[in-house]
């Protein structure tokens, strides 16, 4: 029987370039650096950059364009390619919580540049925290992990969020909810699946059809 676990982290190194990238800037000048620092300080002072995650380890069966586990079936060639050769996977949901959303809302009304940078910080933080979780998981369990794959990536439709939510019950464990639009609340939340074993490669943009994506690396 599989079990759902919950974990909380407070620290993971901050990557300024990623924050700038998410905020739409390719370079960081001193004004932008100051703005990022001001936003980071404010967010940290009110404690809205903490990370909560829940996950379950499941046996998976990977076919050519489907991945099956725990009675669910995800249809996606791209995902199957990522998970190719693995027998187990971590399915996770995680969030920074509602505090960062509140802060973004506040500045969206009174100072949009801060809202934009805080969006970037939120995106960078949650990704860095997941990286941190993965590194720890690898160390603790002595395994390699594939890149993580989320509903909405490549040909894995956003509809699959419903399956991830049915499996993990994130509202109960970490307070993350699924909206009718299939986006999540709080907004700085991520779900995904990570193969255990298999190819230990970081994000691989070549495995994605969105060739004009502004975040393509």
């Amino acid at each position: 029987m599989s079990e759902i676990f919950r974990a909380e982290f407070k620290d993971a190194p901050v990557n300024y370039n990623e924050i700038a990238r998410y905020a739409g800037a390719k370079t960081i000048d001193s004004e932008l650096k100051n703005l990022i620092d001001a936003c980071l300080n404010e967010a940290n002072n009110i404690g809205v950059l903490n990370f909560t995650l829940c996950f379950v380890k499941e046996n998976i069966e990977v076919g050519e364009d489907t991945t099956n586990f725990a009675g669910f079936s995800l249809k996606s060639k791209n995902l199957a390619k990522v998970l190719n050769g693995t027998k187990e996977a971590v399915v996770f949901a995680c969030t920074l919580g509602v505090g960062i959303d509140k802060l973004i809302r506040k500045y969206a009304e009174i100072q949009p540049s801060k809202a934009l940078v805080l969006q970037g910080i939120g995106a960078e933080r949650i990704e860095s925290f997941i990286d941190y979780f993965c590194e720890r998981y690898k160390k603790e369990n002595g395994v390699s992990l594939t890149m993580r794959y989320s509903p909405g990536f490549g040909d894995l439709s956003l509809e699959n969020q419903k399956k991830v939510f049915a499996l993990l019950n994130p509202p109960k464990y970490i307070g993350v909810t699924l909206n009718d639009s299939l986006l999540m609340s709080p907004s700085k939340s991520v779900t995904g699946i990570i193969g255990i074993g298999g190819c230990d490669k970081k994000e691989d943009c070549t495995n994605c059809n969105l060739e004009n994506c502004e975040y393509r690396k």
Binding site: E3, A70, V98, R105, K106, N169, T177, S181, S185
Partner: protein
Amino acid sequence: MDFREFLKNNNVIVDGATGTELQKAGLQVGELPERWNITHPEVLINLHKAYYDAGSNIVSANTFGANSLRYNDKELEEVIACAINNVKKAKELSTGNQEKFIAVDIGPTGKLLEPYGDLKFEEAVEVFAKTVRLAVKYGADLLFIQTMNDSYETKACVLAAKENSNLPIFVSNAYNEDGKLMTGATPYTMACMLEGLGVDAIGANCSFGPKELEDVIQKLLEVSSLPVIFMPNAGIPKNENGMAVYDVSAKDFAESVSNMVGKGVRVAGGCCGTTPEYIKLLVDLVKDKPVSKVEYKGLTHICSNSKEARFGYKPLIIGERINPTGKKRFKQALIENDIGYILNEGLSQSECGADVLDVNVGIPDIDEKEVLPKTVQKLQEIIDLPLQLDTSNVEAMEKGLRIYNGKALINSVNGKKESMEAIFPLAKKYGGAIIALTLDENGIPNTPQGRYEIALKILEEAKKYGIKKEDIIFDTLCMTMSVDPEAGNKTLNALKLIKEKTGCNTSLGISNVSFGLPDRESVNAAFLTMALQNGLDAAIINPFSKGVMDSICSFNVEAGKESEEEYKKFITNIINKATNQGGNVANVKSLSDAIIIGLKDEAKQKTKELLATKSALDIINEEVIPALDEVGKKYENKTFYLPQLLISAEAAKQAFDAIKDSSSVKNSSVKCDFVIATVFGDIHDIGKNIVKLLLENYGFNVIDLGKDVPQRTIVDEVIKRHAPLCGLSALMTTTVPAMEETVAMLKKEAPWCKVVVGGAVLNESYAQKMGADKYAKDAMETVRYAEEIYSKLV
């Protein structure tokens, strides 16, 4: 026995976990546990019986997730009917001889409420109402609202319970490690709100083991006048060979929980990981504990989701600036739906030290019953302070109180029969402390005795509605000194008399005293000090007024209500604010430099300097617009990126604000109307706000309808204004149809209007297909297009 009677004189034992026990019996991850009521009744009956046998007074039916978002109406009824029936059978079969009751367990909907999620408050009320009605129909003894991690959802659930049953209501919340709910509520604010709503017991469950939750329980015991519930987990699950193992043993659990019963907890049980064994040991230990008296704390307090304001300690500052009376700019903001302006007024007052914000949006041109609740929601979205709802429109008051997250301050009731009959039922239903004005059908009595008699009448009447005197705050009405030199004295004498005789808290709108006089600040400050000396508990004042704020700080220190350190901090803040209005202005050559670099204070300062020698129009045309154009070009050439574009735009906005503040300019720069909205169903508005900021800088009169705006509202606004331009934004593929419909309606009903669309999911061909006049890839492109259309108009 009636459950409420039982609760009065006994410690109440609740059952332990259901979910983790069902998992042991084979419930799979991803399976809906409530279906087991129908498919595995024997498992449920055995479990419930084991809890009754262990000595539980309350066993909860397996209905935690039984709501209409997860089940259709037919299945929901079946699930709840079977769930209650299973407990009934267990009750019959049990050998325990204690009093036994059946609870219907109500957990969160699984959706987050607006504004941070997409479930509307009233939808949440209706979801819970369906469950409550079924609980009543199938014979529950009480409603047990559990594991809620959001105060707002908790309120929706309690309202549904009150509106659809007379059953006792228990509310237990799931607190995080930081001692707060996920959305920020504290034990103090939860106690304040839930007592206001009139539930029967409050507490904490789930999350952690008994030790970690002790602090939360202590806080609840400290402020709650209701029985306190404590139902922790059996610790925290640890991963042992892939299995979750809870780390607190039954013995340790029972000791810790019963220990808290000794300290005042009246309702005890267990959550995740606990079993009948845990409850059995708990029952054995609680048997020897006394039944603590639930003490009435007599607090006068109000709260928002996350902040409590308590009367009778330090005088509270109620900020009066969110009020259109005598403020042209504010009225304009209300008419134009410029919520940003109102929010800024709120945030600035908060920064200046206000404890509570008065909210008054009453002007003849708007529908207060629509605008007040909307303003309340918007303010609560970004400001933590509790609010005082200030309206004479009873319908607006009800809507505002209903939608309010927390326990609000109601401004106001008075001694007139009609007023009390309208306001007291609202306060009773939604909770709320009430400002009571000492006037009645015969006007304002001239003597302190007369005002005191009205106070007594108000208290008498409030009592009939079950409203306690602690929820009544008297305002003895401050009249202007310019008409009656004795006005101040009469008010203060009445204040003192009422406070001494009734023990109630007091509040005054201070600035009335100086109405019609010069140098009002000094008069107000002096009067405020006198009022404080006479026992004033809350002052409705202007937090931007240094004189008045200084006098309240000085009083607090001199009357020993504040540490000197706090005082110094406060004063330094105010001084900084006062002297910083010029700011630490760096040395930049020109206004246009300040804008290009993005220095806000400098931009404001330079504009002020320029206004002494130049006309507003010249400043805009010679300095601001060229600077904006240069920034725009840099952005288009990709030497500037979005954050820099915004930083500059905000600096330019400071220049415009400085120009608007100077009286010399009358709409000199307004080009034409531009109606803008994020379409129906979409709640993403950062992009839209960026476009708005830039358009305003370029002189367009932007009518911002906000986000999630129905098609009809947008079209009506365009027609009403005969607006030549309309901008629509959508981020999600799912909301593009709403955009298409809006464009089609605009084309049909407002063919003169050029429609610009934008947002992450759109592109040129998509925009063309839906019939939009223009696809703009970013804010600058929208500005360029708007300029082009405008140039053809003139």
